[in-house]
């Protein structure tokens, strides 16, 4: 295998891991803050 196959795998893994982590953290934050705000308004 050429060096570029290893480079592509390393960059893909890093970007997938970083984007996945940031995306999941953002969704968890938005869900929790929306639920907290809804509960505060309704109660």
């Amino acid at each position: 295998m050429s060096h570029w196959s290893f480079i592509a795998a390393a960059y893909a893994l890093t970007l997938l891991g970083t984007i996945g982590l940031a995306g999941l953290s953002f969704l968890a934050m938005r869900r929790a803050e929306t639920d907290a705000e809804a509960l505060r308004r309704d109660w």
Partner: protein
Amino acid sequence: MHAFANPARFLRIARPLTAWLGWSGAVLILLGLAGGLFIAPPDYLQHESVRIMYVHVPAAWLGMAGWGGIAAASLLQLVWRHPLAAVAARAFAVPGAVFTAICLATGSLWGRPTWGTYWEWDGRMTSMLVLLFLYIGYIALAAAEKERGGEGRTAAVFGLVGAINLPIIHFSVLWWRTLHQGQSIGLTGSTIAGSMLWPLLVAAVGFSLLFGSIVLMRMRAELARNRIEARLRRMAG
């Protein structure tokens, strides 16, 4: 530091900071990685495979910085009883573990074309693997303690004791001269040529800013869940 003890005051600062850190980090990551892939020259010994450095080194730095964050927050929690410290320590854990895993995987992908092997029980690689196991242990311990309604003091002690591994990782390339290369960047200078160094520094700053944004997102999520739990308890009572 106690100025941020009030969650409302913390959130007033954290809300705009989360977006600012996230977007500026993303831009710098793209610039640094584009520079590393298309502008920086290949290395005279490692050839093109040196380009893995631009993702591997920031991941290694953040894996270690994540545990540094856990240790600092744990100290704040145990000594000064800062009310947000346990939340901050837990928020560092998963991002730190993810970047440690990325560091190990990209190091392995760098090792195959450079050294001819994906893995060697070398001092640096083994101590980074130990760091990943410490993260997994910390995440399990902190989650179990929170579920039981504890203050997270056991996890905080674990976070402080685990910091012993950080100097071991740092000095491993000096203590055990096996396969991993020595230190290339220090506080006083670098042995990397400027044309290869700038994309690395830009990518490292970018990943660090995004890491900060992710930690803030996780702190905000836990604070919101705490507010929900407290309100539900009041409603039930």
